[in-house]
């Protein structure tokens, strides 16, 4: 038996990043405040983890104006969706191996 921890993506080790991806996977685009409310984290903490996921190419940012106020919406990219699904599949295997 060999545990395939190499197949777990390092970008998703952080529970905040796991949470961001989970939220964006089931919601088609979320703004900063919604993500913050979902995850119950500070602005700084969320911003750091968003930047990391953006750098990986797993989420993308859309800046717009709503009622003349700037609004930033985050989306999961196709690449991010694929990587996250693979990550969850490996976690699922690990969970199954424990039962």
């Amino acid at each position: 038996m060999k545990i395939s921890i190499d197949d777990l993506h390092k970008a998703f080790e952080s529970r905040v990043r796991l949470g961001i991806m989970s939220a964006l996977a089931v919601n088609d685009g979320l703004d900063f405040t919604s993500l913050k409310d979902f995850l119950d984290v500070t602005d700084g903490n969320l911003a750091t983890h968003i930047k990391k996921l953006e750098k990986e190419g797993f989420i993308e940012v859309e800046k717009s104006f709503i009622n003349n106020k700037p609004n930033t919406t985050y989306y999961m990219t196709t690449e991010g969706k694929k990587a996250f699904e693979e990550h969850l599949n490996v976690l699922e295997e690990i969970i199954k191996s424990q039962k």
Copy 2:
């Protein structure tokens, strides 16, 4: 909907520590070399993560001699087993929410 990332234990964020716990959960005691082979990590990396889990009280160490050679075996504690099961349950919820 609120993602319960707070229920994910920080000790298990690292994929190496997740791997150590997975290996010890299905094997009743493993020595250093067996753990290293399972996880395919360096000595230093494994030692660091073992120390962290030991400090949390999630694994315990038994030192003995086998054929006059020192041998160290690692076991999961009852507390570790409980915490790891809870962690996997939360991961399972996250995975389910994606399907």
